[in-house]
Symmetry: C2
Subunit: 338 residues, 2 copies
Amino acid sequence: MREKSNMDELITLDYGSGGKKTARLIEQMILPAMKDPVLNELTDGAVLPGAEAIVFSTDSFVVDPLFFPGGDIGKLAVCGTVNDIAMCGGEAKYLSCALIIEEGLETAALQRVIASLSAAAKAAGVRVVTGDTKVVEKGRGDGLYINTAGIGFLKHPGLSPKAIQPGDAVILSGTAGDHGTAVMLARSGMMEGSLQSDCAALGKLCEAVFASGAAVRVLRDPTRGGVATTLNEFVEGTSLGIRLREEAIPVRGEVSAACEMLGLDPLYCANEGKLLCVVPMADAEKTLSAMRAVKEGSNAALIGTVTEDAPGRVVMETRYGGARVLQKLAGAQLPRIC
Amino acid sequence: MREKSNMDELITLDYGSGGKKTARLIEQMILPAMKDPVLNELTDGAVLPGAEAIVFSTDSFVVDPLFFPGGDIGKLAVCGTVNDIAMCGGEAKYLSCALIIEEGLETAALQRVIASLSAAAKAAGVRVVTGDTKVVEKGRGDGLYINTAGIGFLKHPGLSPKAIQPGDAVILSGTAGDHGTAVMLARSGMMEGSLQSDCAALGKLCEAVFASGAAVRVLRDPTRGGVATTLNEFVEGTSLGIRLREEAIPVRGEVSAACEMLGLDPLYCANEGKLLCVVPMADAEKTLSAMRAVKEGSNAALIGTVTEDAPGRVVMETRYGGARVLQKLAGAQLPRIC
């Protein structure tokens, strides 16, 4: 038997944060039991061998509340899985959709979610081809949880953090922290103002980047755990580091203000319509131009570079000339954000 | 806008029963919104076009309790999706696994479930290649919900209730109602006795049937809603009916006794390791022999025939010489049975 090491005795919300404890649960409990090299890759989706290489991904959505400015759980359930496939270099084609409904959910709310999910699928060019419906007793769920799994076909093989080189450019496709902040504001009842979730499918944005001819090293959407956590995943355990410039990272004024009020950091807030991409510095300009020509990439920015002088670390030069180490999200900053 | 017709204003447990109300929710709310011919087929999985035809299926598992005689939610989550693919004529190859954990779940319980899930996957010859982990607050879940989606490749195309012909044989691969009864007994705290869930992967059993050379019309696993509901799905809206002989339907003595005590009918109780299969009467004997040579089919029986004299109906000749119409399960006889 392997030791249980540093898992807690009971599962806490922190294990769902997308940060360190989620990683611990997966690495210490799930991977050793499954022993599958494809699963061990821990990318957003799995690339499967076959006549046409299939990209396979899944996510459950437990966002609270079900409806928030800029989206709802239905739209999120489509975009989240479509994006996971896109981040693997795949083109999403088919989705499954499984509902866990809490007894007492208003039928009209369910209808709105399904309409939104259907519209999002149409917009993203994916078909919902199979599904499942379960109902649990009142108090055993929270309105509605949705799982989607997606099948896509691999168009751009070889994307991996392992492909990252010293001197590479780190690009963020738009403003950081919109989704997490919008949901937290909605949850707290402070919903006035113009702040919206960025929830969007990123297939077109990815295609634009590939069409630019940039030699893309890796793509990933910074959802739970935010930009800071995803960048850490790129370099942890390697001889490379990432140096960010705080002033280069686009953050909406409303997001900064809301984060300050809520005690959050936009770099750790979930995004649902953004991607991080590493390309050779020589390809940075064409990547940015390609992104900015697409609605979802209109605020794309070069936010940092890959260095050899901070192995395994993400270091941010602050606005005030200092340096701050950005670690992975430790606990559950924002539970049930997606 | 289409009319909401006869949906209730709030979702009740009945909508998760796998019977009439589940069908209503799917047919009146989901299919019209999605408008996809593949989804409209309402089989256990979707058959997708491509270089190799892919079979894609999903199920969420919300069984209460997590552990029951003969299995647990982890084993169930593998067998359920593997079987859905097998029922479509596919061979399951890859699974996704998404966990929704309730805060406070014992880590040791999670570890047991994951070990069981992994062992079941190995036994069924499928690989878990991608996953997701969410944690919800105490009181917003019930220990653990698991979604699996599966990818398989189509080996035996053309299985469909539409292929059923008058005079065909209706075969059940073993005893009816074991899973539902075992779970209900476990839930009620009456766990002594030898009654076990039949939870099992049916890939080998299906292969044996096809290898026999029988011209299989349709396969389906009678899970939620049981044998009676699945048989209704075969013939509803058609010009054919099914005539069953009650005395031919294998039911364990313990299951009969437990059902009587709990006020249940074994023909409406979920099975998780059984299949119903329709073949030409001329192929019935070889189908039965092939099934009985496999552990999962050792109690296979010819339980009825396809007739033209009760269109759209399932009629059972009772032990006492009467006839009883078996309708689809109407409500939630057994909530959260899988």
